[in-house]
Subunit: 347 residues, 2 copies
């Protein structure tokens, strides 16, 4: 991990803690139960997470020549809150029980309410749907209340709307493709573009840059850097999801295979597999040995190598875009290191 | 229905149609499937609904002496979009299949995807969770893009955040109380305060007033008018839910009884019931005759009379507040008529 990144991460976490402390007290004042619900949101958010979006928000602010760095860090948590809103809903959609090595919010809420209700499962999920909605509102609130001029904040809110538009397009396509029998690599890359590249890299950078009043040239550099890097990020995530260390990723590994979700690794393997391999990929049982056989085919067909090469190539493209830009030396160094880190990370 | 109300309703519906036409075209351009999803959101929103929130948004704008009435009507759809976002999630939470006499969005999406997937139920719900999230973003977008000065819009966005904070507090308390064995009338009225009074009446009026740059005095009048009326609105809704004409309300009637959800009618009846009645209320079977017996007890204990008297009293309080204010004659007439209508409506 880059040293500067770790420092930013720490500052962001402090601000998230302060935000949730305030919200927990406020809610407890209305009802102790509400306080508990907010406290569990805090635990969910603070259980881990790379904070890549608020970090990029801050870097975007620097790229736009913003001067009030403290205020930018304060505002940056908006995008982490929005991200956690989507994670909470995503965990319900994917029926995941673990996130960052801890129970997902609907599971936590189910446990919280189990002595009260005869249908804790449904109520836990219900509270988590509303819980996600509350985190969304927190995100808009953190941005609306930031100490920046109103016109800048309004521009930033429009960017936030666009980020949410992009990511929900990605989610809808993801849900569609998860249920389609035949999905193309092009379709999978499109989901990665909306759900990861625009959402995780481009959006946060643009958000910070907009708050700083960046010009069109800077926004163009951001897109040129962000879009290839975002695809690489997603590919690396898929690799980690299949071959990563569960203890380090904190996610139920193999979940793509188990959910029969298509990703680049599986699709490329399918396209390059021969008779027996094809059969295994189609009919793979969800046993440990079945999953191991699928992983072996992903390696044997060269799909893993291909994915790694592609993500390296995209990262080079991304680095090239930022290197030739007029960004400051500090920003260039940071974003180049970040790009390398993104396809080297273990979690 | 008040004539002016009907005219406003029509203007708002036209604007909603235009909004969805634009969004459907945009989504279809990315993928026909996405276009279909938006089209179904349009059908959900346009299936009915009183549009009380955008109407009040507009009246609030007049109360704040706003001059650009057309722009206010354009912006007013933001709160209807937000409302539909919450309805979509609410229908999932309440496991309702009907809304405005048509299938709820998760049911529509289930049908849409049923030939594609082996788990259409879960995918339909997943698409509707994301679908709600998209409607939320639409709401913020409609407000951010309105043709008002940035500082006014930013103030209004803060009011929108507060509206969402209030209503989600109401929802969380509602979910909690639905699972608690003993709920007090005070607790039920508190849910009505957050989930209906602040959200349905006070919030929209304040939103419009804020966009017009209203002063504190006007905002105070709004609260004095809105809060009692909102409680009356909820009580009348409970009465309609139990004794209303299903064809006119478009909702599965008896759903509060069926879900063992507490409301003022049931609680008051419980408190004023005698031996046999008490037993029936506790153990009421969810058969048609069981539900009819519960309804009879609500009448026999005087609970229905009590609820009607209370809502009339609250409406008088509300009308008093607006009558003695410095609002224009036009606004006063409208809000007084609206208050009467709210406890006279059949749907």
């Amino acid at each position: 991990m880059i040293k500067k990144y770790a420092l930013l991460q720490k500052s962001i976490n402090q601000r998230l803690e302060a935000f949730f402390k305030h919200k927990t007290n406020e809610a407890t004042g209305i009802s102790p139960f509400l306080g508990k619900l907010v406290k569990e949101k805090r635990n969910f958010v603070m259980a881990g997470g790379k904070r890549i979006r608020p970090v990029l928000f801050y870097i975007g602010y620097l790229m736009g020549d913003g001067k009030d760095k403290k205020a930018a860090l304060d505002a940056s948590i908006c995008i982490e809150l929005i991200h956690n809103y989507l994670l909470v809903h995503d965990d319900i959609i994917d029926q995941d029980t673990l996130r960052r090595g801890k129970p997902t919010l609907h599971i936590t809420y189910k446990t919280l309410i189990k002595n009260l209700s005869s249908s804790p499962e449904h109520l836990g999920t219900s509270l988590a749907i509303v819980g996600g909605d509350i985190l969304a509102m927190y995100g808009y609130e953190a941005l609306s209340n930031a100490t920046f001029p109103d016109n800048k904040k309004l521009q930033a809110i429009k960017v936030l709307n666009k980020i949410l538009s992009d990511v929900t397009i990605g989610q809808d396509l993801d849900i569609l493709y998860a249920s389609k029998k035949k999905v193309t690599i092009q379709e999978i890359l499109r989901v990665a573009e909306y759900k990861t590249a625009k959402y995780t890299i481009e959006g946060p950078l643009k958000l910070g840059a907009t708050l700083a009043g960046a010009n069109k040239g800077t926004l163009k550099v951001i897109s040129d850097y962000a879009l290839p890097l975002g695809i690489a990020f997603q590919i690396h995530d898929d690799i980690l999801g299949m071959f990563g260390d569960k203890k380090r990723t904190g996610k139920s590994s193999d979940s793509d295979i188990k959910q029969h979700k298509q990703n680049l690794l599986l699709l490329y393997a399918k396209e390059h597999s021969r008779g027996d391999q094809k059969k295994t990929l189609r009919g793979a049982k969800l046993t440990t040995s079945g999953i191991e056989r699928v992983k072996k085919i992903v390696k044997d067909t060269g799909s893993l190598d291909h994915a790694q090469a592609l993500s390296r190539q995209l990262v080079e493209q991304s680095k090239g875009a930022i290197r030739k830009s007029s960004a400051s030396k500090e920003v260039k160094e940071f974003l180049v290191e970040l790009a390398d880190y993104i396809i080297a990370r273990k979690s």
